[in-house]
Each structure stands twice: as structure tokens, then as C-alpha cells.
Amino acid sequence: MAKVTIDGVEIEVPDGTTILNAARQIGGASVPPAMCYYSSLKGSGGKCRVCLVKVAQGSAKDPRPMPKLVASCSTNVMDGMVVQNLTSPEVLEARKGVVEFLLINHPLDCPVCDQAGECDLQNLAYEHGAAKTRYEEDRRTFEKIDIGDKIKLHMTRCILCYRCTMVADQLTEKRVHGVMNRGDASEISTYISKAVDNDFSGNMIDVCPVGALTDKTFRFKSRVWFTKPLDAHRNCTKCSGKVVLWMKDDEVLRVSARKDQYGEVKEFICNECRYDHKTLADWTVEGPRHIDRSSVIAQNHYEKIDLSTLKKEIDRQIEFQKGKPVPAPKTLAQ
């Protein structure tokens, strides 16, 4: 076991835990954001650099600070390590820089993008980005391509997190696509427009942190915040069958896997559940899905709430308005 202090909060975690996962065990505001790390995909992480943190003290044995900021998703904790995330201005500055880098070649076409409202990049930019861009040049663009008949690849929006290539590598039987070219010309692609065709390929839509991979059966059907998410399940021989149905009135517009609070899917679903069962009769509905209040999808989305929790939240908001940093509550709804 290793004792690690992140933003002043101490926690004991097993050896070999990454700083990011230790921070996630603490929860709250000290969790660094992550765009490329995905706990269930082996080898992910280290690429986007938004999870950079400062290690002010390497370990109890060797208390020297690390010379550079480190990627918290791929750096393991040491006993006695002291990590600064939000408490270090250096980290915030670097993170702002990374967000700016991610956005300079992003088309910022959120008004027409299907991912808007549930986009990790949007949330990240809202939290850490600048209001104005300093980039005056042309942005890189690519042609949209179909990978398979159900998935659209919009490479212009991609931030090259490599998650989808890992899905193809690890969840599906055959490696079907990867990264071609290099530098800012690199693109996710299949080998000569080959279709991605296997049972779990649809999961690359869910792991995509931006709108680069979208579900063709849902494209342009509705803004995501006009839909009502329902938890539902069915008996499926290929996967767990636990999904979220995105409803508009009685119509199932989209089926997706369930994401946790860090936007990660723990139980991947098969393509049959995702694409072929778009009638409510196929599913056993468990109830409305909890959506975090910070999300735009939560608007008009009523949930039963405890009054004392509500009071705490109002107090928190007042404190926040005064400019004091206040840790976010764990969950507001029941």
C-alpha cells in the first residue's frame, strides 16, 4: 500500500495504482480530466496530456520533486508522494495550453455536431479553456468517411486519443483500423475504406470523447438534450444487455452503453443491442437514468431530490459565487 497526498487530501491505495486512479478514489474537484485514458482499455493514456499534474514530492524515500509535469494516468504512485493538481498554477497553465492545442484544429462545429451536450472536449474546454482563440490559420480538414454502414468517421473533429483503435484491437476479434500518416496529418482509418464489421465495433462510438465517431442511425435525429435517457436491459447472449435508451416520446432514438461519472463504459454492448432493437417493447425499462446536474442533458429532467441536499447545494453555489473554491458534492440526486 502507498500513501499519497493529492491536493492536500491523503489516501492509501495499493501499489501500482496510477495518480489518476488514486485521485478518482478521492473524487471531487481534484480529479484530473482525462481525454485519452480509458481504464478498461489496455495501453490507453499518456497521449492527450490534459491530465498533467505536478509531483511536489517524489516519495517518502526520495522527496525530490519531479522535474517535469507528469501524465497522471500513466504515472504510478509511490509511498509518500505529494501531488498537486488544482493547487498548482503551473498545472493549470499547462492544462490551459493543452486545451488550446486540442482546439486549434478542432472545427468547433458544436451547433451541428451530434456529440454536443455529451462531449468530453466541450466540458474540458468549458472548464479549462480560454474564451477566445489565438489561432488565425486554416484548420486541418478531412473528408468524412463511412466505416461500416453504421458508423460515420468525422476525422476533422478527432483529437487522436487512440481509444477507438484500442477498442478494435482489444474488444473485437480482428484489428480493423488504426492510425495512418503522422503529425497533424495523422488520421484514424481503415485500410482502404474497409468496413468495420464485427459484433462489438459499435463501442468505438461510445469511447470517442468527441464527435469524430457517431452512430449513423442517430445522426441529426435530435439534439441529445431533447431526448430522455432511460436505463433498460434485455437478455442478450453476446453482452450484458445493460444499456441506456435515448427516448423522444415513445420512440427509441439511440441505444448506448452506460457510462460512469468519468465517461467510461464499464460493460460494453454488442451491435445487436445497439442497432437492432429500437422498439421499447424489446427492453425492460429500469427507470430514468441519472444525469449529472452539470450536464445540459439534465435540463427538464426531473428527479426526486432530498431537501437537505438541495440546501447544501444552494449554500455551495453561494460560496462559489463569492469566489471560494468549494468541493462539488458527490451526487445531488438520490
Binding site: 486549434i104 503522422r182 497533424d184
Partner: protein, 453 residues
């Protein structure tokens, strides 16, 4: 001229053949090491010699060898990094082309020290013709019993392979090189684990530059202590410098570390002075990725001491008033050079060579290149200069591998030392329309103009 340890016999006709090389005392280090020394003794000699990595970072080679995980049951590998692609550096090419057996001899001795049974020379794809030269030399070494099973009748066996890359600068980064050697896309790995623990095929691996491995030969022949006598302080031995730019005699020179920079530029033994006797403007001392220094700072340090060709002296003053010895790509510029154009050319290179794995480097290198293109072509504005400094600062240190740093340092240093020139480009776009604008009328800073008047 100082002592020549690597290039001593370079002028000998036929030195690229085994027969001539052997007659000139070649492969003596292999005989000495295999017959009279244990692998640990060889490593110890390299440690005593104080040899520092010649690829750019200058990390002590003996130390790197001693980090190798010798307890592991996995096979160990020695990989030679011949992916020399830094603009301004061409010493490895010269060495491999002219005297290939020196590298192979170093590989055998080095592999013996590390206990490697298989070793690789990873060579950049653009050096395809050298692959042929090396393979011919390896065949000769096999035929004469210096490679293969039971070398020289001892129980040590070694196989040596040449593996050409596909032409990517990033594959000179050691972990990207290993990925490429394994047949994957040449993306640098996250460190730790370092190659000494988990390198090629997840086995303990040492990656060394061509010149570092070649330097093992004189170290074993003459002894580490003898080698350490050459040079100053922690910069021991000789170093190949690829001199290019506005000098009378560009080429590869072997210098004893500690030669004053002034002597190196102006002495007839080395560069032979400025090409058209114009004044020296700036020097990039160690390949395109190290900070550029103006004439006054390259000849003397900020403290007023004479600057020497050593790792320490060139980096004296940190990045504020110093640079690095790097890989030894010594680019000299006279006052007709436009620093902005030169920097744009470097930035274009890094933009083209970024692997695209991590975001600061992928996006930042392209951004810097575009802004520099704009300034150089007369479309810049004053804010661009600070923007460049800021972008460079945000790339530096935040990337997976040192390519981000290598792209950021030249930009930051050029603006630090030549800010007036950038401002001139922004203020007088009509004067820089001709691509050779400073060749027509050299740039004089306003400070200097005051001094002249």
C-alpha cells in the same frame, strides 16, 4: 589537429574492406575483450573513460550500460541508433560510409560487454546505400570469424543485423526506434519503464548512437583511463563535429573536446574561417534542436570566459545565454542569414516529423510553423512574437518524448536573442519580399546602428 581516435585511418585506401582495416589494427578490441577481459571489465573500462552519449543528450554511456537489467532471464539486446536525421548532423553517415568496420567492431565489443546474443543496427531509410556497405562489412566479419558462433574460438556468439527504418526523424528517439524495430508504428513509448529494463521485445536493451559505439573501440584498445585524459572535466575523449554553413571548409572533424569555439571556426585545421570573410552572426552548436546563439555569446560565455567545445562550456548559462553540444551539428551563419527564415525552416522540419501521438507537439509544431511562415512572408503582427514564445513554452516539457522540447527550444532561443529581427519583419514587410533579403542588405540591429554612428 588533436588526436584522432575514430578517423585515424580514414584516408587509407580500401579501409572499408576487412583486409585493410584488419591490417591497420582493426578488431584488436574484440580480441582483447573476448580473450582477456570479462564483460563486466569491459563495462568498467567504458565507465572509467567517462564516455558520454554522442547522440545528443550526453548521458554517460558506462552508466547506461550498468543500468541494464542483468538479472532478467530474458535475452539482452544492444541496438545501434543510426537514425541520424537531425538537420545539420551528418557525422554517423560519414563514419559508416567510410569506415564501417569500426562500427561493427564496436558493436561486437559492446554486445560482449552487455551479454547480448543478437544486436541490431537501426539505420534511417534515407541511408539505403549505407545498408549495403554495412551488410558487406558484416558478411566479411562473419567470413573471418568475428561474428556468428563461437567468435575467435571463445564461447561467445553474436548475430548482427542491419534494419533500415522508413524515414522518420522520430525513430531516432530510442523507444520509438524500438517500436519501429518491432515492426510497429514509430510512436515513442511512455517512460518508465526505460529500455534498460523493458526495451526491445520487452527485454533489457541498450540503445546507443553510432559514434558512442565506435568510441568503445579506442577505449578498449588504449584503456578507459587513457581515453579520459583527453578532454576537459566530464567531457572526455574526442567528438565528431559536422560543420556546415558559411565556412570555408565544411565537413566532419574529429576534435578533442575542449577546443575553443573560436579556434574551431577560424583555425585552418578545422572550419577555416568564414566563407566570404563576412562577420559571424550566429551559430547553432549541436544540431537544429539546440538553442541558437549569437556571435558574441558563442565565442564567449556571459561571464566573459572563452567558450570551449565541451558539454559543460556550451551549456554554460543555461538556456538564457547558453546552448548544448547536442549531436555535434555545428551550423555557422554569417550576417546575410535571416534568422526568421532559418527558424521557419527548422519549425517546418519539426512540424513534418512530429509523430502526432501527444497533443502539444502534434498541434503546437504546426502552429509555430504557420506563424513563422506568416512573419517571414510579411504577414505577421507584433502579437505573433509573444504568441510564439508562449506556444513554445507550452510545448516544452509537456510532451511524451523530447521532440516537443527540440521543436520549442530553437523558437524560444531565436526570439530571445534576435527579437529585433522578428520585429523588423513585422514592421517592414516590403523590405523582406525578396527571400534573400539579408543577403542584399544585412540586418543591423538598432543598438548596433547607434554604435556605428
Amino acid at each position: 589537429m588533436g588526436r584522432q581516435l575514430l578517423l585515424e585511418h580514414i584516408a587509407e585506401p580500401g579501409i572499408e574492406t576487412f583486409a585493410v582495416y584488419r591490417k591497420k589494427g582493426g578488431y584488436a578490441s574484440v580480441e582483447k575483450a573476448l580473450k582477456t577481459m570479462t564483460p563486466d571489465q569491459v563495462t568498467e573500462e567504458v565507465k572509467i573513460s567517462g564516455l558520454r552519449g554522442r547522440g545528443g543528450a550526453g548521458f554517460p554511456a558506462g552508466m547506461k550500460w550498468s543500468f541494464l537489467d542483468r538479472k532478467s532471464e530474458k535475452p539482452r539486446y544492444l541496438v545501434c541508433n543510426a537514425d541520424e536525421s537531425e538537420p545539420g548532423t551528418f557525422k554517423d553517415r560519414y563514419l559508416m560510409e567510410k569506415i564501417p568496420h569500426l562500427l561493427i567492431e564496436g558493436m561486437i565489443t559492446g554486445s560482449y560487454a552487455l551479454g547480448a546474443k543478437t544486436s541490431y543496427i537501426y539505420i534511417r531509410g534515407e541511408y539505403m546505400y549505407i545498408v549495403g556497405i554495412l551488410e558487406k562489412a558484416i558478411d566479411e566479419a562473419y567470413a573471418n570469424g568475428f561474428l556468428g558462433k563461437n567468435i575467435l574460438g571463445t564461447d561467445y556468439s553474436l548475430d548482427l543485423y542491419v534494419h533500415p527504418g522508413a524515414g522518420a526523424y522520430i525513430c531516432g528517439e530510442e523507444t520509438a526506434l524500438l517500436e519501429s524495430l518491432e515492426g510497429k508504428r514509430g510512436n515513442p513509448r511512455l517512460k518508465p519503464p526505460f529500455p534498460a529494463v523493458s526495451g526491445l521485445y520487452a527485454s533489457p536493451t541498450v540503445v546507443n548512437n553510432v559514434e558512442t559505439i565506435a568510441a568503445v573501440v579506442p577505449i578498449i584498445n588504449n584503456g578507459g583511463a587513457e581515453y579520459a585524459k583527453i578532454g576537459i572535466g566530464k567531457s572526455t575523449g574526442t567528438k565528431l563535429i559536422s560543420a556546415s554553413g558559411h565556412i570555408k571548409k565544411p565537413g566532419v572533424y574529429e576534435i578533442e573536446l575542449g577546443v575553443p569555439v573560436e579556434e574551431f571556426i577560424y583555425s585552418d585545421q578545422y572550419c577555416g574561417g568564414m566563407l566570404t570573410n563576412r562577420p559571424l552572426k550566429a551559430v547553432v552548436a549541436g544540431g537544429s534542436s539546440v538553442p541558437i546563439l549569437p556571435a558574441d555569446l558563442i565565442l564567449k560565455t556571459a561571464k566573459g570566459e572563452k567558450r570551449l567545445m565541451t558539454y559543460e562550456s556550451l551549456s554554460d548559462g543555461g538556456f538564457v545565454s547558453g546552448s548544448m553540444l547536442g549531436s555535434g551539428g555545428f551550423i555557422v551563419m554569417d550576417d546575410t542569414t535571416c534568422i526568421v527564415r532559418n527558424l521557419w525552416s527548422f519549425a517546418r522540419f519539426y512540424h513534418h516529423e512530429s509523430c502526432g501521438q501527444c497533443s502539444p507537439c502534434r498541434e503546437g509544431t504546426g502552429w509555430m510553423e504557420k506563424v513563422l511562415h506568416r512573419i517571414e512572408h510579411g504577414h505577421g503582427h507584433m502579437g505573433d512574437i509573444d504568441l510564439l514564445v508562449d506556444v513554445a513554452k507550452k510545448i516544452e516539457g509537456n510532451t511524451i518524448c523530447p521532440l516537443g522540447d527540440a521543436a520549442a527550444w530553437p523558437v524560444a532561443s531565436a526570439i530571445r536573442h534576435f527579437r529585433e529581427e522578428f520585429e523588423y519583419h513585422v514592421k517592414y514587410p516590403e523590405k523582406i519580399k525578396n527571400p534573400k533579403h539579408f543577403a542584399i542588405e544585412p540586418f543591423l540591429s538598432e543598438k548596433k546602428l547607434e554604435l556605428v554612428n
